[in-house]
Amino acid sequence: MTEIAWMDAALAAARPDALAALLRYFRDLDTAEEAFQEACLRALQNWPRNGPPRDPTGWLVFVGRNAALDGARRQGKARPLPADDVLSDLDDAEGRIADHLDDADYRDDVLRLLFVCCHPDLPATQQVALALRIVCGLSVAEIARAFLVGESAMEQRITRAKARVADAHIPFESPGAIERAERLAAVATTVYLIFNEGYSATGGAAHVRVPLCEEAIRLTRLLQRLFPSEPEVMGLAALLLLQHARTPARLDSDGAIIVLEDQDRGLWDRAAIAEGLALLDKAMRHARPGPYQVQAAIAALHARAPRPQDTDWAEIELLYGALEKMQPSPVVTLNRAVAVAQVRGPQAALAMIEPLAAQLSGYFHFFGVKGALLMRLGRTDESRDAFGRAIALAHTPAEAAHIRTQLDRLMRDAASRR
């Protein structure tokens, strides 16, 4: 590996811890970010000459903090910094850099940084953008491309999010156990959102969004490092790995969706599946189930089936039933119906989803599933109507194209029966 590539990887690896510690010193996201940038610039000059420091994170925190303080002094305190008694740990920073800082030292700092970006006051789109910018260090241009919006629009979104966070007055004391658990749950939700943002993308734009999935997986590794004994964090990591493993098989060469049962399972990423299964195995030993573990267990049953017909749909139905109890939602019921259709046939599944019609009247997948069930029951006209609604609600051309393929099959079958 070249020196530049090594430096990039080292700086990226140090980013969350270093930025989190700088945020604790300065209590301001912009100042912390500028300090980190400055420290990175100095690292690029210094490390090749003097060799990398033993503790790159500690080095970056120390240098970044001093650079920001110098900068503020030079500007004649144009932008006043908090008083010294507010800037905690000023004296011991030098002492601490001598020791190799333990992950545990950064735990609450990193959790605070993540929580600042995932603050419940922020709308989901802003949480995701802010986390990608601040924690993952993606450029505004990269994030804009992933969300298919213009760069200036994304810049604005991030600026607004930062302003809102600054007003939210997030406490800087170490959180108590309950608060820590709440923060962790909020952060896990945002990580899941980032992943879905990348995963639900389909069609021609899909390739630019794969990095979102990879960033989300990287964030789960960070969370696991901070909370090594949380089964739901293991479950989340397992879920993302197992789903991401299917990415190479999800689109054909024209960018059209390939549904699970038609995917070439030989293209699935076996290493990611193995890691996901290992994490799920580890989580389940705790016997403290939760929604992420259940969803990971469902993904694991798909991953373990060598062919679609080997899928253990009965077990999947049970797991969706468990998920329904933990997190009741019409979407979960719809997913359970898909499993029911495999186990007990389309009639039973249709009876299950009909009561959901009012709640899911704007949901693409509802009409996709309904159309497919009606098609299996030979109710051609109703099936065509449902597919028509699905096409109207499709988010991407690939989703619409997938329904059109089914519609074509429906019409062909109907014609051949005549």
Partner: protein, 123 residues
């Protein structure tokens, strides 16, 4: 004389590698391994999954199972096993059994193997 070589590196850094960078490193290591294999000097090679998948079994009368890798500077790495197990539960049970047999203090870290080449060395 047989020698075991253990790999240590910062997982945060190796985890920040792109798929391409990772593959490039593995390819370069593969060249060295191939040379050793041709000379008949290569035994088993394993790449472990990330430490997030690790479980540690503390030896003792009542062995304690902990999440995460073994991290203790008072004790040193003295050897390793590669075993086949249907689940983590079985691996933990095997570690307990080994612990009872050894009778001494210490710990076993259980890490799923990502890549395994059995090699052709004879004991």
């Amino acid at each position: 004389m047989l020698y075991a070589i253990f790999c240590y590196d910062s997982e945060k850094v190796t985890g920040a590698w792109s798929k391409e960078q990772d593959a490039a490193v593995m390819a370069k290591l593969g060249v060295v391994q191939e040379k050793l294999a041709k000379e008949g000097r290569l035994g088993p090679v394993a790449r472990l999954m990330p430490t997030t998948t690790a479980t540690t079994v503390r030896k003792g009368k009542e062995a304690v199972v902990l999440d995460g890798p073994f991290a203790e500077t008072k004790e040193q790495l003295l050897g390793f096993y590669v075993i086949e197990c249907p689940s983590l539960d079985d691996a933990v049970e095997t570690a307990r059994e080994l612990g009872r047999a050894s009778g001494s203090n210490g710990a076993f870290e259980i890490r799923p193997v990502m890549l395994f080449r059995p090699g052709a060395l004879r004991a």
